[in-house]
């Protein structure tokens, strides 16, 4: 697809809009976090099981928590503007490094479960739509309802009990075999081996949503004039479905995937906890509990940047899938 002059302008405008959005996100996140009672020093003292007033005061001073809130906010915003996300006092390392350490694991889990969910959703959605109100449709409907209604962490635990504890086929958790010193293809296979259960548990819930969405969308599209025209031309049902109807029916799915990508970062907390997967969701969750503000702000900032980027990409994809949509 040739680049249209509109695309560059569209991108420039959207990026310009993103700047105040990000700033607002940073400020609001910062203030909301500091409104929660208790700070990292309370948590550290709690873990220590003892603390003298001098110790508590020393920690607050070290972490800069004794400064006025606005001054803390100012230096944080300045830090972000200069691409410095600060220091995690709990982990005693830079926030950026902590996040980058976890990012690959998150992307692997997110990418594979989302692809799996979309693939399953499209296949089952189209199948259900083709056999609407027949037993196949009914069976798919029941499956969808089940996986939609079952809590993700419970599915995860049941998969562990079945495939790890009872059958012994897959590991109960973690991301790779520890200390095996694998490299190359062997390492890849090892990671996939560990990935199957968490990706499947996470994908099931989203696959259920996408199946329903695809089914409804396909039914709607197949009643449209252009599909009837395609059929009238006498092309095979297969080509009608996959060549004509599916392409348009994908648009609503795309919208939902875009919206959910952001929540998948956070929604994976439970799955990451159950499977001990070293992802960002858990890091964020622990940062909340430990009042590790810098770390949490960093993760929130990164998630919001990701959501903005994904939505931009989706808008571009709309135009590719449906040439009637203009970028403006």
């Amino acid at each position: 697809m040739a680049a249209r002059p509109g695309v560059a302008r569209f991108l420039a405008r959207r990026l310009a809009q993103a700047v105040p959005t990000v700033l607002l996100i940073v400020v609001v996140n910062f203030l909301v976090l500091h409104l929660t009672p208790g700070d990292i020093v309370d948590v550290l003292a709690g873990e220590a099981g003892a603390a003298t007033p001098e110790y508590v005061a020393m920690l607050r001073e070290r972490f800069g928590l004794d400064r006025p809130l606005m001054s803390q906010l100012g230096s944080y915003v300045w830090g972000v503007a200069t691409l410095d996300l600060g220091h995690s006092f709990r982990h005693n390392t830079s926030v950026l490094r902590l996040m980058l350490d976890r990012l690959p694991a998150t992307l692997i889990l997110m990418g594979s479960s989302l692809s799996l969910a979309v693939a399953l959703g499209v296949v089952f959605g189209v199948t259900a739509a083709r056999h609407v109100n027949r037993p196949v449709d009914g069976a798919i409907g029941v499956m969808v309802l089940l996986s939609y209604a079952t809590p993700t962490f419970w599915i995860g635990l049941m998969l562990i009990v079945l495939f790890s504890v009872k059958l012994g086929w897959l590991p109960t958790g973690g991301m790779m075999t520890i200390g095996a010193g694998l490299a190359g293809p062997a390492k890849l296979i090892d990671i996939v081996h560990h990935l199957i259960l968490p990706a499947a548990s996470l994908a099931l819930f989203y696959a259920a949503i996408y199946t329903r969405l695809m089914r409804a969308s396909m039914l709607e599209v197949s009643g449209l004039d252009y599909v009837r025209t395609a059929r009238a031309k006498g092309i095979s049902e297969r080509r009608v479905i996959y060549g004509h109807a599916l392409r348009n029916a994908l648009l609503p799915l795309l919208t939902v995937v875009g919206v959910q990508l952001g929540s998948l970062l956070g929604g994976s907390v439970l799955v990451e906890s159950v499977f001990g997967w070293p992802g960002l969701g858990r890091l964020a969750f622990e940062a909340v509990q430990q009042r590790d503000y810098n770390l949490l702000l960093g993760i929130l900032l990164m998630s919001s940047l990701l959501v903005i980027a994904v939505n931009l990409l989706i808008d571009l994809l709309y135009a590719v899938l449906d040439p009637r949509i203009e970028l403006a």
Binding site: T36, P37, G38, D39, I40, D42, V43, L44, A45, G46, E47, A48, G49, A50, A51, T52, P53, E54, Y55, V56, M58, R62, R90, H91, N92, T93, L98, D101, R102, A105, F153, G156, L157, I160, V161, S164, V165, G168, P171, T172, G173, G174, M175, I178, G179, E272, S273, V274, F275, G276, W277, P278, G279, R282, L283, E286, Q289, Q290, R291
Partner: protein
């Protein structure tokens, strides 16, 4: 009928579990070299040294890498570690430690008395949350030669010898930390110690890997090739990993107590309750003595009588707890029940006391309303809170439950915004270290965690603890603590409900994992795996 039968059956089942526990952890076979031990824990440690942050999750890892001058047997008697021998002057003001020769740090540099001096002066005394108190009276640390350390004190500190474990007072390498800020030093994430295991790798959020120290001073040890600490945040997943044998050890209640029976029924999983004597966890309710009604000692007595603590211990804590008899745990050498008032379960008496206190039942049979604040750090805590709400409801006290996370809990309670709390606290091997902080009036300090949040003031209690702090004579100290126990049990500024037993779950192939009073914080140099 069934309601009566169930607890009885449970008790019988637990008795079996306890019998099984009795013989656990004792090596019946020859130690075998080799193998990797995988330990599971629920949260990631913040760093890998216990010098500043003394959290459990750090301690379990750090104590394999670092050592202390001493360690402790099950009766809390000190044993040689980095110090080969030690003497205490009769007045208790001079401590001389002879250090082990031929010990090297993991980077090859020799370990000397300068390292001990540095650790005490720069870390234990300055940065450690309890070390500041423990070593407060140390005025000078002399190092006459590379293998001798002499501590000179302005006043006797009888608890000092109880505080030199590899967890409480880790010895750090001076050459690594000197001249830099200790707490933010990157070396705290890649520690260098003298211990049997060397830090190798930390994959954040996943695992930490330690390997055998080939030049460890105790020749032939450790037996294990490596220790891996795996982080699994979900309790049910931890249980699955133990069941499958992927992990061979979980400490500090690795699974909810409700699951312990199911797991120990498996042939491969066993339980151990020893190894927590050092911590002495006490399950307690702190009371805000500034609150209306609760400031009346009669009301506090009535509340104690209204609680069936045996029921809580057997049913909510599945027998891994027993009713406490006072402010000091029964495993302490200073424990006494002589002259210490007891408050057996007696609803009629509780009601009578409340009537006598002039608290008439009003609308809905309620005498007064109060609240109970607690953090859900263990699944048994909210259950206990629910029981307390029911039990106090029966005597006309309406309790509002406030279940809040630990950071909020500490902020609210230690800024005195509470009526009643529920939590467990470590009372530690010496009452001066772990008990006195809750009761002396000098510790009524707003914003300081685990201080005297009740606002309790009793001059006699202050005097007893004050004298015991510097009393070198063990007999006199015992008498002072006995007096404190009697006074506190009479006033009831805090409800000491239960002495908790923590549980270690381990694979039946794992031997010698619990070797002293601070079992999970042992060095694991004697630990081995059967084939």
């Amino acid at each position: 009928m069934t309601r009566l039968a169930l607890p009885a059956r449970l008790t019988a089942a637990l008795a079996t579990v306890c019998l099984l526990l009795a013989g656990a952890g004792v090596a019946a076979s020859q130690p075998r070299a080799g193998g990797t031990l995988t330990i599971v824990q629920g949260a990631e440690p913040a760093t890998l040294v216990s010098g500043v942050n003394t959290s459990t999750f750090i301690g379990t890892v750090s104590t394999k890498i670092h050592e202390g001058l001493l360690d402790y047997d099950f009766d809390l008697k000190p044993r040689a570690a980095l110090a080969e021998s030690w003497t205490v002057a009769p007045d208790g003001k001079t401590y001389t430690f002879k250090l082990r020769r031929g010990v090297t740090w993991h980077d090859g540099k020799p370990f000397t008395s300068a390292d001990v001096k540095f650790s005490l002066e720069e870390v234990w005394k300055k940065l450690h949350p309890r070390g500041r108190v423990t070593f407060a009276k140390v005025t000078a640390v002399d190092t006459p030669d590379a293998n001798t350390v002499v501590l000179r004190l302005s006043e006797a500190t009888p608890m000092l010898l109880a505080a030199l474990s590899s967890y409480e007072s880790q010895v750090f390498p001076k050459h690594v930390y000197e001249g830099k800020d200790f707490a933010t030093n990157p070396a705290t994430n890649t520690p260098i110690g003298t211990g049997p295991f060397v830090f190798k790798e930390w994959k954040k959020g996943d695992y930490i890997r330690l390997e055998k120290n080939p030049s460890y001073w105790d020749k032939g040890k450790p037996y294990l090739d490596a220790i891996v600490i795996r982080i699994i945040p979900d309790a049910a997943a931890r249980a699955a990993a133990l069941e499958k044998g992927e992990v061979q050890l979980g400490v500090f209640n690795p699974v909810p107590l409700a699951d312990v029976k199911r797991l120990t029924a498996l042939p491969t999983v066993k339980a151990e309750t020893r190894g927590y004597e050092y911590f002495a966890p006490m399950y307690m309710m702190e009371v805000n003595l500034r609150a209306e009604h609760l400031k009346d000692p009669r009301v506090r007595h009535a509340i104690m009588h209204a609680l069936d603590r045996k029921f809580i211990a057997d049913n909510i804590w599945f027998g891994f707890a027993r009713p406490a008899t006072g402010p000091i745990v029964s495993s302490s050498p200073f424990y006494t029940t002589q002259g210490v008032p007891q408050y057996p379960y007696d609803v009629a008496k509780a009601n009578a006391i409340l009537d006598e206190a002039g608290l008439k039942r009003g609308a809905g049979n309620v005498r007064f309303k109060t609240s109970l604040t607690f953090p859900p750090v263990q699944p048994e805590i909210p259950r206990t809170a629910e029981y307390i709400k029911q039990a106090l409801g029966r005597v006309g006290i309406e309790v509002e439950l406030k279940n809040i996370d630990i950071a909020t809990f500490i902020r609210q309670v230690y800024n005195w915004e509470f009526d009643l709390t529920q939590n467990y606290l470590y009372l530690l091997p010496d009452p001066t270290l772990g008990v006195q902080r809750l009761y002396i009036s000098g510790n009524i300090k707003k914003g300081t965690p685990f201080a005297n949040a009740a606002g309790y003031e009793n001059k006699d209690v202050d005097a007893a603890f004050g004298a015991a702090q510097t009393e070198h004579d063990q007999g006199k100290r015992k008498e002072l603590f006995a007096r404190a126990q009697r006074l506190i049990a009479e006033d009831l500024p805090t409800f000491n409900l239960l002495e908790l037993s923590f549980v270690t779950l381990y694979n039946s192939k794992l031997m010698n994992h619990t070797m002293g009073a601070d079992g999970p914080y042992g060095s694991f140099r004697d630990t081995y795996l059967l084939p």
